[in-house]
C-alpha cells in the first residue's frame, strides 16, 4: 500500500505538470508531446486501480492512434512548427477563474463526501479467474452487448463522416 501511494504521487505530479504544459505551452508540438506523457500517466493510474485491460487500451488507442491523428492535424494545419506567441486568447483569465472555482468546489465536495472512503486492498473483481480482463470481457459481451454494438456503429459512422467532411472533390 505504501509503494502504491509513492507511485501514485510520483505519477500524479508528472501528470499534472505535463497537463499544465499542454494548456500553457507556446509550441503546439510540445503540447502534443506533453499530452502523450499525461496519457501514459493515466494508463499507469489504471494499472494501480487494477484495470489492466483499460490501461492497455489507453496506450493503444490514445497514444497509438489519437496522438498520431492529432499530430497529423498539427502538421496539416500549421505551416510553421515552432513557437507562436499568439496561442492564448485575450480573455484567458476567464479560464483561470473558472478552473480555480471549479477545482475548489469539486475538491471541497469530494473531500466532504469521499474523504474517508478507502479502496479495497485486493482490487480484482473476480478472484476466481484472477484477472479483471476476463470479467471485463464477460460484462461487455453479455450485459453490455447492445451498448457495445452501438459503439461499433458510432465508430463506423464517425469514420465515414470524417472522410465525407474532409475529402476534397466536392
Amino acid at each position: 500500500m505504501v509503494a502504491q501511494n509513492i507511485f501514485f504521487y510520483v505519477i500524479a505530479a508528472t501528470m499534472v505538470g505535463s497537463a499544465l504544459v499542454v494548456v500553457t505551452s507556446r509550441n503546439v508540438v510540445h503540447s502534443a508531446l506533453a499530452l502523450i506523457v499525461v496519457f501514459g500517466g493515466v494508463a499507469a493510474q489504471f494499472v494501480i486501480l487494477a484495470g489492466e485491460f483499460v490501461a492497455v487500451t489507453q496506450v493503444l488507442v490514445y497514444i497509438g492512434a489519437i496522438m498520431v491523428l492529432v499530430l497529423f492535424g498539427i502538421m496539416l494545419t500549421r505551416a510553421k512548427i515552432g513557437r507562436d506567441p499568439d496561442m492564448t486568447n485575450d480573455h484567458w483569465w476567464v479560464g483561470v477563474v473558472t478552473a480555480v472555482l471549479l477545482v475548489g468546489v469539486m475538491g471541497y465536495a469530494l473531500v466532504d463526501r469521499f474523504g474517508d472512503d478507502a479502496l479495497p486492498a485486493d482490487r480484482r473483481i473476480d478472484a476466481v479467474n484472477g484477472s479483471n480482463t476476463a470479467t471485463v470481457s464477460d460484462a461487455i459481451f453479455s450485459q453490455y452487448l447492445i451498448p457495445f454494438e452501438v459503439i461499433s456503429v458510432l465508430l463506423l459512422s464517425a469514420l465515414v463522416g470524417a472522410i465525407v467532411i474532409a475529402r476534397k472533390d466536392r
Binding site: 489519437i66 469530494l110 479502496l119 479495497p120
Partner: protein, 98 residues
C-alpha cells in the same frame, strides 16, 4: 486512497476546462477535451474499484471509443476550416456573430 484518485481527476478536469476556454488554436482545444475525457475515465475506474464493480472499466472503454470517434470527426472539421479560411484560429470562426 480513493480520494486522491478523485482529486487527481478533478485537477486534470479543471486544467482541461482552462485549456478549452483559453486556447486559440482549434487543435489545442481538441487536446484539452481529451484531457477532460481522461479525467473522467480515472474517476470511473476509481469508483469501480471502490464498489468492486466492473461497470466502471466497461464504461471507461466506451468513453475511449467515443473519444476516438470525436477526435476523428473533430480533426476533419479542423481540416476543412483550415482549407476554407487558411487559419485554425477560433477567433476567426465568427460567422455566427450578429
Amino acid at each position: 486512497m480513493l480520494n486522491q484518485f478523485l482529486l487527481l481527476g478533478a485537477v486534470l478536469f479543471c486544467i482541461g476546462v482552462y485549456g478549452v476556454i483559453a486556447r486559440k488554436n482549434t487543435v489545442l482545444v481538441l487536446m484539452s477535451i481529451e484531457l477532460i475525457l481522461n479525467a473522467v475515465n480515472i474517476n470511473l475506474l476509481a469508483f469501480g474499484a471502490m464498489h468492486g464493480d466492473i461497470t466502471g472499466a466497461v464504461f471507461a472503454l466506451f468513453i475511449i471509443a467515443v473519444a476516438a470517434a470525436e477526435v476523428g470527426v473533430g480533426l476533419a472539421m479542423v481540416l476543412i476550416i483550415y482549407r476554407n479560411r487558411a487559419s485554425v484560429d477560433l477567433d476567426d470562426v465568427d460567422s455566427m456573430r450578429g
